[in-house]
């Protein structure tokens, strides 16, 4: 039985470089990096002082409902904003309003929500620090003074699945769902799981969203301690690449079966052609030098889509700027594409690494780039690293060789995901 085609009917995005896909892509094409000084705490004397922060964050501009702000965190604001934009832009709510009540209820039940979430921030627990001071290290006192000191909604504010739950409530979506807390591949896996749920007939459409806000003091120190933070700039595949930098924000895609999209005359901005996933099983931080997991994920995606390497028009690489990841990713791409290497780019240099949101934001931007028939350059690329030789990377704009983009995403635990997308 042939699987149904899965179309993309809208996107949403927010990061340091802008509040929608077009604005972010414009910044990328202009070679403007949105990475700048961290403002969320005083970084005087800090070894890491830059990241891609969403500047002058105005919670109400992201999520209008002021009551909701008491129940969510910074990361949730991003996720709810991007998902909300995708849902509205898809025209689904307006279309549902034209339906009879019984039909509208079916529409809600047949619409899924898939979230990729960063999981927990260390700051979440800081709400207990005043109580710990008051208790003077005595847990009995900690327990006694708890009700008077800590916000009763504390647990609900810190749920990793808040975006999932609140999207459902706010937009009346009640279908199959997941919240994937799988480090950097979470957002991409939200797309994969939504794609598969639609192909298998579990739902007719689903919003996929990835969101994260990793820029917090303790997180920055830990990433630095394990050697993953860049000294000056995020320079994917460059000879001077020496680490990554954090970004924050969210990306979202509305996926829909072809039948459903046509039935309601939805706009179509792309298609998911295939997906692949592989893990390396070497531990939390270890990755294989030969890029085995990336290569297997890409090959699985190609097989799933029924494509050959020569069909791929551009690659949006994970390109996180750490030497180990860049080199192994390059090895994998050489292995898969051989002499048929398409133009390769990466976006993280422009707004940082959004961790759980990174891969889905890359997918959103890949569609925007395909629409304009451009492969944006990597502005921080000066000279390609010797161990990344053979990658068709460039500091300047090129044209894709087809309307198909391969988007690669990697995360801790040796996880690797690949998406194949087509723009109309």
């Amino acid at each position: 039985m042939a699987l149904p085609r899965i179309l993309i009917t809208a996107s949403g995005a927010v990061c340091a470089a802008g509040m929608d896909a077009e604005a972010i892509l414009r910044a990328v094409l202009d070679g403007r990096s949105a990475i700048g000084p961290i403002t969320q705490w005083d970084t005087t004397g800090w070894p890491v002082r830059i990241a891609g922060e969403v500047a002058d964050l105005n919670p109400r501009a992201l999520v209008e409902d002021r009551k909701l702000h008491k129940l969510i965190r910074r990361t949730d604001l991003f996720g709810l904003y991007a998902a909300g934009r995708a849902i509205e832009a898809s025209g689904l709510p307006a279309w549902r309003e034209t339906q009879e009540a019984a039909e509208a209820a079916i529409t809600s039940d047949r619409t899924g929500v898939y979230a990729g979430s960063g999981g927990g921030n260390y700051q979440n627990q800081y709400d207990y620090l005043p109580l710990m001071t008051a208790a003077g290290g005595d847990l009995r006192e900690f327990g006694r003074q708890l009700p008077d000191t800590v916000n009763p909604m504390w647990l609900l504010r810190t749920l990793p699945n808040n975006v999932l739950g609140h999207i459902g409530i706010r937009h009346g979506l009640k279908g199959p769902n997941a919240c994937i807390t799988n480090h950097s591949v979470g957002g991409t896996m939200a797309v994969i799981e939504a794609f598969e749920a639609l192909r298998q007939g579990e739902a007719d459409r689903a919003v996929a969203v990835g969101h994260d806000a990793p820029i917090e003091p303790q997180m920055v120190l830990y990433y630095r301690a394990v050697g993953l933070i860049a000294s000056k700039a995020l320079r994917p595949f460059d000879a001077c690449h020496d680490g990554s930098l954090f970004g924050e924000g969210a990306g979202a895609l509305m996926l829909e079966t072809e039948v459903s999209a046509k039935a309601r005359g939805a706009p179509v901005i792309g298609e998911v052609l295939g997906a692949g996933f592989a893990s390396e099983g070497e531990g939390l931080l270890a990755i294989r030098g030969d890029g085995d997991g990336v290569a297997r994920a890409v090959r699985a995606a190609l097989a799933d889509a029924g494509l050959i390497p020569a069909d791929v028009g551009m690659v949006v690489a994970h390109g996180n700027g750490t030497p180990q990841s860049d080199a192994s990713e390059a090895a994998a791409l050489r292995c898969v594409f051989g002499n048929a290497m398409p133009p390769v780019t990466a976006f993280k240099w422009a707004f940082g690494h959004l961790i759980a949101a990174a891969g889905i934001l890359d997918a959103v931007l890949a569609l925007a780039a395909l629409k304009q028939r451009v492969v944006p350059g990597i502005a921080t690329l000066d000279q390609i690293a010797p161990n990344c030789a053979g990658l068709q990377v460039s500091a300047t704009l090129r044209a894709p060789r087809s309307d198909v983009a391969l988007v690669i995403c990697r995360g801790f635990a040796g996880t690797n995901a690949a998406l194949l997308l087509r723009a109309p």
């Binding site: 710990m132 298998q200 394990v226 759980a356």
Partner: protein
């Protein structure tokens, strides 16, 4: 016999459990049959000042000697439960990933809240926030804020990393969190992966431990946990009119899932077919589903449809049954709506009455309970039930465990955030007439 299907079927061939009532499958099962409660006064920390001072702790836990010491350095309490339960499940299944099969194995886990453990927070408090506010400058020299080991333990997919590394799993690997529905969704994801054909075998499960000052505090602040401090053994009484909150548990449950034909071909002991998965969002309130059961209803119906079954086929429901006012009422309404007249026949119990609520592990542990109910023809008791609640008029397994052939069993798991997970298991004889796993 169900009609032949081109769809790949999934067998449950191995189980592992670490729960408050037993540190393996046999120990847990005998306690659940007898309705022995794991509730006690909290011993893991001084809870004497808390409004709730009881929980269902895992007792006399020992790390399996097979688990490498160097891995244990990277673990939090819940990860150690996971490593042991996963080891049990793989040993029970009699099959493990090899170099040749590693890429065809998946791993799906429901992981608990990701955050550092209380002693680490206390260290950070002492060094960097003695006045109650973190002073960023002090963090620079704070040992706990610069310790890679703490980072590795507390990462969102740390548990997944430990499991895939230890067992050499190199296929699809995912970590999910939908609060109390996490474990059920992890098992359901495993089913879908095998059906989709991206892997042939999956190590699926859940693990959690929130019995810590911060974990307990979160639930105390919401008044979600029973404060029957003088009677912890009876604090969890799902569907009883006097229920007043859940009993916080901890632990892990793992299942080995295998593509049916390959499991039969190698002569595996099959507990049950993992036949269907359904999930939905209640989209009502973050903490509850509505009194009429909307949300859970769709998940249960979807699971039955996915299993190509009807309510008449199901003999046992392992309820979510948290012992909170709203859950048990909503779940009862949903069960009535889904099962119609069959609800009088359907036997129901919540094993949270004995082992408490294992949060992100609950759905996986309870899926394992359903597999055991089918294999053994026994249904655990809904313990501590005394006062009927007209809103919860289900056919509960009361007094003692029920011995009866179980053709199909259903497990519900509903989470904060509104995610509802339902998985359905089927007796192996009803799939292909082949033998059910013998009791080892």
């Amino acid at each position: 016999m169900t009609p032949p299907s081109p769809r790949r079927r999934v067998a449950v061939t191995g189980l592992g459990l670490v729960t408050p009532v037993g540190n393996d499958v046999e120990g847990t099962w005998s306690a659940l049959l007898a309705g022995r409660s794991g509730g006690r006064g909290i011993s893991l920390f001084d809870a004497s000042g808390f409004s709730v001072r009881i929980a269902a702790e895992v007792k006399d836990f020992r790390d399996d000697e097979r688990i490498e010491r160097r891995l244990l350095k990277h673990t939090m309490r819940a990860h150690r439960f996971a490593l042991v339960a996963a080891e049990q499940a793989l040993a029970d299944a009699g099959i493990r990933p090899t170099e040749a099969t590693a890429e065809r194995w998946g791993c799906t886990v429901g992981a608990g809240m990701m955050t550092s453990e209380y002693p680490d927070l206390a260290e950070l408090h002492a060094h960097s926030a003695p006045e109650g506010e973190v002073q960023a400058g002090r963090l620079l020299t704070d040992p706990s804020a610069n310790d890679p080991m703490i980072f590795c333990r507390s990462n969102a997919n740390a548990g997944l990393a430990l499991l895939t590394r230890r067992h050499g799993i190199r296929g699809y690997a995912t970590s999910v969190h939908t609060a109390c529905a996490s474990g059920g969704q992890a098992v359901g994801t495993g089913l879908k992966l095998i059906r989709r054909g991206v892997v042939d075998r999956v190590l699926a499960g859940g693990f959690d431990s929130m019995i810590s000052p911060v974990g307990l505090a979160g639930f105390c602040l919401l008044s979600a946990v029973s404060a029957d401090n003088d009677d912890p053994q009876h604090a969890s009484r799902p569907f009883d009119a006097t229920r007043n909150g859940f009993l916080l548990g901890e632990g892990a449950g793992f299942l080995v899932l295998e593509e049916w034909e390959s499991a039969r071909a190698r002569g595996a002991r099959i507990y049950a077919e993992l036949a269907g998965d359904g999930n939905s969002l209640s989209s009502y309130r973050i903490t509850d589903s509505p009194p009429d059961g909307d949300g859970p209803i769709q998940a249960m119906r979807a699971a039955l449809a996915d299993a190509r079954a009807t309510p008449a086929d199901v003999d046992y429901l392992n309820a979510h049954g948290t012992s909170t006012g709203m859950n048990d009422r909503s779940e009862s309404a949903a069960t009535r709506a889904v099962f119609g007249d069959e609800v009088r026949r359907l036997l129901v119990s919540s094993t949270k009455s004995s082992m408490g609520h294992l949060i992100a592990a609950a759905g996986a542990v309870e899926a394992a309970v359903c597999a055991l109910a089918i294999q053994r023809g026994e249904m655990p008791v809904n313990a501590n039930y005394r006062v009927p609640d007209p809103d919860c008029d289900l056919n509960l397994v009361l007094g003692e465990a029920r011995r009866q052939r179980v053709r199909m069993a259903m497990s519900n798991s509903f989470g904060f955030g509104g995610s509802n997970s339902c998985v359905v298991m089927r007796h192996p004889e009803l799939v292909d007439g082949g033998p059910v796993a013998s009791r080892s």
